[in-house]
Symmetry: C2
Subunit: 741 residues, 2 copies
């Protein structure tokens, strides 16, 4: 063990792990969210070093748009990310590009079995690169997200495989276990064991409380007996479990010899022998088969037939069993305990929010570079114009570009909020503010994942269609993005189910009866606007001209009204349902559609717009970047708002034809103002061509040359099929089988 | 040749072909749209024969819902399809199920090369079955659509491969050629040749006029020289061309020796030797590679290097060249001629509309059977309820079920309209009514394809998400449906581009200055409602109670107002753009978003609702079926309408909070009324389990048993990976490569 780890001691590694993930010892520097803050805003990066970090793009058909951009893309990249972060990302991208193990074609194009193998080897290689150093993370926690993003941009199967092993499995042990489980942490890094997180069963996903795997304690041997009562209780969908995991954090109902059950607890269960990868006795473990995407990842199932594990392998942070068989827990009730043991799911939701944003970024990069170089039709037969010049194409794509920027900012800021929360948890803060912060972040994350994953899913589909037939060619990656993003809508909580967490939080604020002035106040201030409730409902849309509408303050004001309106509607609906005799379960179910569900989404849209508005209007934004960033903010705000126009009219915030038309005109005007900046805005988001991996989206804009190169590189493009004689020799006799019908 | 065809003479075959596709000699019987019409409404099918045709489903967990249904599913199936059609479909499904060549797993699960081979063999086998007989078609033209649907339900790659060869390639020769080309028709049926339709080039799809392949006439040898000037002019995306086609209908610019060009014409070009499947000299033909779906179909590209073909292989219906090199055409101008030669695309759009509806049907079958058997949460911990009981789940899925019914009816009725049009063309009708009918069908088809393909695409995605993780498992087919439906949004005309055809048609009606009473009248009466324009714009929403809203007459009235409103908006926007100095090209481009595009979609929604409303309210509907069918009609109407609520308020049709809420309440009420009928409604649409091919959607409702059977049947589910030693032996040394970074 020590030999394998060379100069790393166990305590060193453990420390590393704790620091990386949990214990950000320094207070978070808000300047993380603006690269400028860290690189001395007053001392601009030298031209030379900037060009090394952000080299010019190859000349080509995109030059026209690049020349028209109203700002310098390098300046924006530096403002948003900072030199240090850009260097960090470049390091990762360059390493992948130089290493033959990561060579094209990406695993996505391989048969599933081969893809799985390559993905495993690449995952192992990540440990050798060890991209993320402790001091990096301490300096800027966002590097965790950046690593996830860079790996995900390359291939989600790889990123998620590593992430599940180190972060999800590792964190579950670290957060749910105690001192006695720390020994497993270095084994994770050395890959002596390989881990997975087994919560979901084949018949239970959303309703985790109803999980049916059991863990009976046997005081005679001081063991737990892990058992799956039937096939429906098999753990299912568990990432890494299909082929590679040796250990699983298994959630099971803890039952005592007397028959008493204490609810769901986490156990560390060995499922395969690390020496042979063969299943342990009593364990039936296998692969659930092909999925719509992420096929480099081996999702699996497991059934336990009375598998015995030592008492110590109960992850005992929230509840423990004494050798004699007494159950002990610091929590008052089971619900509270379960909440604590599943609490880390919130972190997962924040990460998935970022993952979805990455997918959206990649898709808009591909579609906008395509749109700037694809020409079709024109004012005369002789001249065709780039499809980006069409208002319709702008309207289809530019709001998603704006969404990518706005949601990217939001996901980073939410991640930093989470870091603060984790710091408090590690300090064992038990004060009211910490609890309130936990609830607020839970509410935000539970709507952030739905909003981001749906926006990405719709955006990718729009990008696919906006690229026409070429978007349907697998090599251009939009299909893989759609397939890989899709589960973001489902895992770590189905989007629609999650939204209820957010609306419950908001509705619970209404129910509080605090002293007048402090009722609507939260640590992150995301609900402070409710102070104006219900008075704000008397407000009206006030923009007098199109020009007035071109700033995100207009949608912001409308959203404050909208969320208050939906809060009242939801509250009234719930009350009405209860008055008509429905129990709480029924009342809540009947208040989702058009009320609570819309409330949660609108609230999160407001929060995203609020944060991006502030970010783009802060004094630190370099003047040459202001106009474009504010346009993005306004476009995202108005475009999101335009989905709710019906409610704005219905509730009286809008009246007359003019308000609705003004918002539409403003959206189109912003699209027109942004279209010449679109390529430069995409240049800021796009990873290197090797990572983007889409011929129609390459930085040189040589659309058709790149497409042909890719098509002709494929296997046996020009060869005749080996079964050609089936055509030339065996001709059908028409109707010869019709007598069989 | 004669030997191969046995008792079929060439003229016999040609006649068959002509009759099948073009020359429906009998007037179309409107009763085709209601099976009851054909099976003597007064003499109900005997119970016994009905049960043979529509056997009961196996007992199981779906029984609960089946017992609760308000109608008999067999009665509805018979009413909608008729006994004869049901028998026809059953024959096809049974043949596929009994033939080992079509055995599970469907080609979708095979590696691409193998899939291509199997798909070709299956395509050939279809000729041997010869499912579609002339007398069948004469009796009921809808059998053409039924055949497409049945094959598509099994596998679109198969259906489209056969369809492109027989219908698209064959019809192009038949419609664009003349007497001298009829010799090719029997060769299509005997598969002596295999065909494809080569219009799109790599750099031109939507703008077909700008196609750059040339055909120079050489009078010296009486040949055309087919040539691709460069890689951007290569034909691309051509279905069947990748590996199997021997002949292509190639669209090229016809150029005369004097240098004069006469625009796009179709040529029959041999691209491979049928004896060897090797390319002909001067032809570079290959496969464009993997697509997002439909990978059993070989889409290809071709470049011509001065390929000489005989003068006779110009398909000369719309323009011909004499041996001496004189160009002759019956058309006055090139635009008119091109319109005629590309006219058959309209038929393609009608078919794609039906194809999309098939996909939507399959998806709702899978998702609703899943929802009726999947239980999650409940009022107490002890009792979990089927997710179909949740209002949110009903609201997510039931409108798509209603859409499947409404669009299915519409697509069939539009197909029958097309048949009437084709009859007229074959009779060489040149009267005004025939021309007007052509324009109307073109306008309808150009919006029907977008509406149906988008509804299906969104519906499939919703179904995927509504099935949670299990919807993400490839074996449950929702991914394949999404991937296979996706190109319906793009081919035969990009959806957004096509919608302009429809809005142009509607706007052109406004421009006509006929005598007052006859201005808005069309053969199919789809624009007759415009008679009320603009007076109708003064109307208001009138429903007084929720009860009033539960009939499709309410959304119908609202849609009449809405389409008129959008027509005025679009007209005003265009005028305004022109007044501000924009040319026609710019003005039209700037009037798409929020105006013309919405107009086209709303118009088609109105037409669909109108036709389904009439169908469900006709006296011939058996009384036990009325309530359910009318609920479906109302639900589809209101749900579609609810996307336009903002406009209804903005334009003053709605005012006050009540109108908007009433529509929402009506949608939820209809969902509640339909949820107990959902399983029975799906039983009417669902093909046999073998065809549906989704474990979670099987008719017995044994969700988990079926899922497990499918998972465990896959390859090497429980085996360890062959590269297991990579895990057990080679451990990473953390950071060992970090010096390379």
């Amino acid at each position: 063990m020590q030999g394998l780890l060379k100069n790393w001691s166990i305590s060193h590694l453990t420390q590393l792990f704790m620091d990386i993930v949990n214990r950000w010892v320094k207070p978070v520097d808000p300047a993380c969210l603006s690269g400028a803050g860290r690189r001395h805003a007053m001392a601009p990066t030298q031209e030379g070093s900037r060009d090394t970090l952000l080299p010019d793009f190859p000349r080509g058909p995109l030059d026209v748009y690049r020349a028209r951009a109203s700002f310098n893309w390098k300046e924006l990249a530096l403002f948003l990310e900072g030199e240090d972060m850009l260097r960090f990302k470049k390091t990762i991208f360059s390493a992948l590009e130089s290493d033959p193990l990561f060579a094209c074609p990406a695993g996505r194009h391989l048969p599933m079995e081969k893809y799985r193998e390559v993905n495993f080897l690449r995952c192992r290689r990540l440990f050798e690169y060890d991209f993320l150093r402790m001091d990096d993370v301490l300096q800027n926690p966002l590097k965790v997200l950046a690593l996830v993003s860079c790996l995900g941009m390359y291939d989600w199967s790889l990123c998620i495989k590593a992430f599940l092993h180190v972060f999800v499995f590792g964190l579950a042990i670290f957060n749910s276990g105690s001192e006695r489980h720390l020994k497993y942490i270095p084994k994770i890094f050395s890959m002596e064991i390989f881990g997975c997180f087994a919560l979901t069963e084949v018949s239970h996903g959303s309703n985790t409380k109803a999980i049916r795997t059991t863990a009976h304690y046997d005081p005679a041997t001081e063991e737990f007996i892990i058992h799956s009562p039937d096939f429906e209780a098999a753990k299912f969908w568990v990432g890494n479990m299909g082929k590679t995991a040796t250990h699983a954090v298994v959630f099971a109902q803890l039952c005592m010899p007397g028959g008493q059950c204490h609810g769901l607890h986490a156990f560390l269960v060995q499922i395969r022998d690390p020496k042979t990868l063969l299943p342990m006795p009593g364990v039936m473990v296998g692969d659930i088969g092909k999925k719509l995407g992420q096929n480099g990842l081996d999702n699996g199932f497991v059934m336990f037939h009375k598998v015995r594990i030592p008492r110590q392998d109960l992850l005992n942070r929230t509840g423990d069993v004494t050798p004699q068989g007494t159950y002990v827990t610091p929590f008052k009730d089971n619900r509270q305990r379960l909440g604590a043991s599943l609490g880390s799911l919130s972190a997962g939701r924040v990460c998935i929010t970022s993952m979805a944003v990455v997918n959206l970024k990649l898709a808009v990069c591909i579609a906008l570079r395509f749109s700037a170089t694809r020409r079709q039709f024109g004012p005369t037969d002789a001249e065709e114009v780039p499809v980006l010049e069409y208002q319709l194409q702008q309207w289809r794509l530019l709001p998603y570009l704006a969404a990518a920027y706005a949601l990217d900012h939001f996901s980073k800021s939410l991640f930093l909020d989470l870091v603060v929360l984790q710091q408090g948890l590690q300090r064992n803060d038990r004060n009211a503010r910490q609890a309130e912060l936990g609830r607020e972040i839970h509410a935000l994350a539970s709507a952030a994942k739905p909003l981001a994953s749906w926006t990405a899913q719709r955006g990718i589909q729009e990008c696919r269609e906006a690229c026409g037939g070429h978007g349907y060619l697998a090599v251009n990656r939009l299909g893989d993005l759609r397939n890989d993003n899709d589960p973001n809508c489902t895992y770590e909580g189905d989007n629609n189910v999650l939204l209820q967490q957010t609306s419950n939080y908001l509705l619970s604020l209404l129910a509080r009866d605090g002293p007048g002035g402090t009722r609507f106040e939260s640590p992150l201030k995301s609900v402070d606007f409710l102070e104006a409730y219900p008075a704000v409902l008397g407000q009206k849309f006030e923009a007098a001209s199109l020009q007035d509408c071109l700033d995100s303050s207009v949608p912001l004001a409308a959203y404050v009204w909208l969320v208050c309106y939906l809060l009242r509607e939801s509250h009234q609906k719930l009350s009405q349902e209860r008055r008509s005799g429905r129990n709480d379960f029924e009342a809540r179910n009947n208040a989702q559609v058009y009320c609570c569900r819309s409330l949660a989404l609108a609230f999160l849209e407001l929060t995203v717009i609020q944060r991006f508005h502030r970010h783009t209007h802060q004094p630190g934004v370099p003047p040459p970047l202001r106009a474009t960033l504010r346009r993005l903010s306004a476009l995202y705000g108005l475009w999101s708002l335009s989905q709710h126009t019906a409610l704005l009219y219905r509730g009286g915030y809008f009246s007359g034809e003019r308000a609705g038309k003004m918002v539409e005109d403003a959206i189109l005007e912003l699209c027109a103002q942004l279209k010449d900046d679109a390529v430069a805005l995409v240049d800021v988001l796009a990873p290197p061509d090797f990572i983007l991996d889409a011929p129609i989206g390459r930085a040189d804009g040589e659309l058709y040359k790149n497409l042909w190169a890719a098509v002709l590189q494929e296997n046996q493009v020009l060869e005749r099929v080996p079964w050609w004689q089936e055509f030339s020799t065996n001709k059908p006799v028409v109707g010869s089988l019709s007598s069989k019908l």
